[in-house]
């Protein structure tokens, strides 16, 4: 990689590239900050434009857009409690709680800095160790994926501040919703009630928008119209006040979040959203201030924000080395790479080493640009806080309708948003956390596919699930996660059970 740095720099540091990177940054920030428009959607919209570009600018456009969109999704999450993309859902309550406590600048300051550091960490790993790491990830079979998914789900149950039983039930509701549609192994339609729009399953983005936005909207309509004074973001540079100290104190969290994000990103099929969830859960597990999680923890934000942007870079490891998409964005990138004659695989590192190094360099630049451009986006978006919530609520509903419709260009998305929004409202009113349900919807198909595939491979046996070393290690971790509340319960400290 370093040997080709000179050649890579001549490809990257051109006016043409600067223009493309800047334009795509603005585009990514714009799309990411609109609830319902995902980073994947932004990437897909760029593909027609990449037809007219050289290989490096084409991939640079996608990389920059995705990195900015993933970060920008934190902005509506903090200001309106509506995640721009699924990656923000893990820590949305913390972002929003900090905003309500007049710390919006602080919350988004942490988000922008941790995202940039996580992204840079992931990019460096990608540059230094891509082929070696990809080899490890190829050892993952359905057994390992099953345990990994189960670990993520278990972590989600332990995440909430609600009772264990209610968190578990919330997760099961999410898994139940994920079962709707054609099953992943045999293509048999389940629980669709004859609706063709449900054959593909419950659309995730409308579900996400509905479950976070609709309860907030209902509460804003039925609540007393009180005006809560909210601090302005003011001078963007003030966001960094005290941030250096926090980041230094949270250096372990930054490293841990970035590492978890990168590793999760490398695994095919697991993207930045799962990286953020797992990182947040691990952060809570090892934190001394567990009670703050979900109520405005800065520590958890550092972990999760670093993880989601690190995962974005990590996903390019299997994509570049083996042509296996790490997530939906890299699936699009692989298509563009083929289109440009840069066929992904081990040989591309030899035949087009300068171009690959240039692409890696773009990763670094895009993640560095998150800080200045992110601050600009935050400053502009934070004007929203000045508007009384009751006045804003109908406009937010308008955005939610557009976002839910846009993802599949189908009105069924609006209905999904509404129904799941009402479900989330009922859940929150009755003390059920929404976060595990969201994760259940995200990971339901992954869990089921690997569970059924593993059962077929093992001919119904249980032993093969723990025969392989990585699978056994992950199974042990799952056991450890679940043994904690059981031990607490056995010690007679079961007051929080229900």
């Amino acid at each position: 990689m370093l040997a080709n740095l000179d050649a890579a720099m001549t490809l990257v540091f051109t006016w043409n590239m600067a223009g493309i990177i800047l334009a795509c940054s603005v585009f990514g920030l714009f799309v990411g900050s609109i609830p319902g428009l995902s980073a994947t959607m932004a990437t897909a919209m760029l593909v027609p434009l990449t037809f007219f570009m050289d290989p490096v600018p084409a991939v640079a456009a996608i990389v920059t857009t995705a990195a900015m969109a993933i970060f920008a999704s934190d902005i509506p999450a903090a200001l309106l409690r509506i995640p721009g993309t699924a990656a923000s859902a893990a820590y949305i309550d913390d972002l929003n709680a900090l905003t309500r406590n007049n710390k919006v600048g602080r919350a988004l300051g942490i988000s922008v800095t941790a995202s940039a550091i996580g992204g840079i960490f992931g990019s460096l790993v990608l540059m230094m160790a891509a082929p070696k790491l990809a080899l490890v990830s190829l050892n993952f079979t359905s057994f390992e994926y099953f345990w990994l998914a189960l670990l993520g789900l278990s972590a989600a149950v332990m995440l909430g501040s609600s009772s264990l039983l209610r968190s578990l039930m919330a997760l099961l509701i999410g898994l139940m919703i994920a079962m709707v549609g054609m099953d992943t192994t045999a293509g048999f339609p389940r629980y669709t009630f004859g609706s063709t729009s449900l054959l593909d399953g419950v659309a995730f983005v409308p579900a996400l928008i509905g479950m976070f936005a609709i309860p907030e909207l209902i509460r804003s309509f039925i609540g007393k119209p009180v005006h809560v004074p909210v601090s302005k973001v003011g001078n963007p540079l003030r966001m960094f006040d005290g941030l250096g100290k926090l980041l230094w104190q949270s250096k372990l969290n930054l490293f841990r979040g970035s590492t978890i994000g990168t590793v999760i990103g490398i695994l095919p099929g697991a993207g930045s959203d799962i990286g953020a969830w797992i990182s947040y859960a691990v952060s809570k597990r090892f934190s001394k201030q567990k009670a703050l999680y979900g109520k405005g923890t800065e520590e958890g934000l550092v972990d999760a924000c670093a993880a989601n942007n690190a995962a974005l870079s990590g996903a390019y490891v299997p994509a570049m080395v083996f042509g296996i998409p790490g997530d939906s964005i890299t699936a699009i990138v692989i298509g563009v790479l083929y289109m440009k004659g840069l066929n992904p695989g081990p040989m591309v590192f030899l035949t087009s080493a300068d171009k690959i190094s240039a692409i890696f360099l773009v990763f670094l630049i895009a993640n560095l640009l998150i800080i200045p451009l992110g601050l600009l986006a935050i400053t502009m978006a934070s004007q929203v806080l000045r508007v009384p919530k009751r006045l804003l609520a109908p406009l937010i509903l308008g955005f939610c309708i557009v976002g839910s419709y846009s993802i599949n260009a189908a009105a069924s998305g609006v209905m999904v948003m509404l129904v799941l929004g009402l479900l989330a409202y009922m859940m929150e009113e009755n003390g059920f956390p929404v976060a595990p349900t969201i994760l259940g919807i995200v990971m339901g198909q992954l869990v089921e596919r690997n569970f059924v595939t593993s059962l077929i491979k093992s001919d119904g046996g249980v032993l093969p699930f723990v025969e392989r070393p990585i699978a056994a290690g992950l199974a042990l971790l799952v056991l450890l996660v679940w043994s904690v509340p059981v031990l607490v319960w056995l010690r007679g400290k079961s007051r929080a059970w229900a």
Partner: protein, 154 residues
């Protein structure tokens, strides 16, 4: 809208049982013991068991069956929330026919009328916002939002 834990538990018990019961009717894969019903059986059983746990171990078992949040007792607040929910459902059902610009404008105007004092500026804000969003989404982001009867105009 708080529901008594026993009632809630009973609901989940019935729901879980129904999921498990219907999953038995799903066909197995040829030559395999597992199939589309395997996972739903596991999840359905767990939901039913959790429901049972809530019935016997729930915290507010002696609470009334249903308690509405305070805000729902205010007629104007309840009307605004109802307009938002029912209006969105109606818009979803007729989205392709009425289109986004007209449908969403009507919904937002109705919401402002239900939740705020009458103000022509708010109605203008609603219509202006919808038109800007429509143009931004269709022209800039190429999202095919249906224009409904205003197709020729926009």
């Amino acid at each position: 809208m708080k529901v008594n834990d026993m009632a809630l538990g009973a609901f989940f018990l019935i729901l879980g049982s129904w999921i498990t019961f219907t999953a038995w009717a799903f066909p197995a894969m040829p030559g395999q013991a597992v199939g589309p019903g395997t996972f739903p059986k596991v999840i359905g059983s767990l939901i039913a068991l959790s429901g049972l746990a809530l019935v016997f171990g729930g915290g507010n078992r002696r609470a009334p069956l249903l308690v509405l949040a305070e805000g729902w007792h205010n007629n104007r607040n309840a009307l605004a929330a109802a307009v938002a929910l029912v209006g969105t459902a109606l818009l979803a059902l007729g989205f392709e026919v009425i289109g986004f610009p007209l449908g969403a404008s009507l919904l937002l105007c109705a919401l402002y009328l239900a939740s705020q004092k009458f103000s022509p500026r708010l109605l203008a804000l609603a219509v202006g916002f919808v038109l800007i969003v429509h143009l931004m989404m269709t022209r800039l982001l190429l999202v095919p939002l249906p224009a409904g009867p205003l197709k020729g105009w926009l």
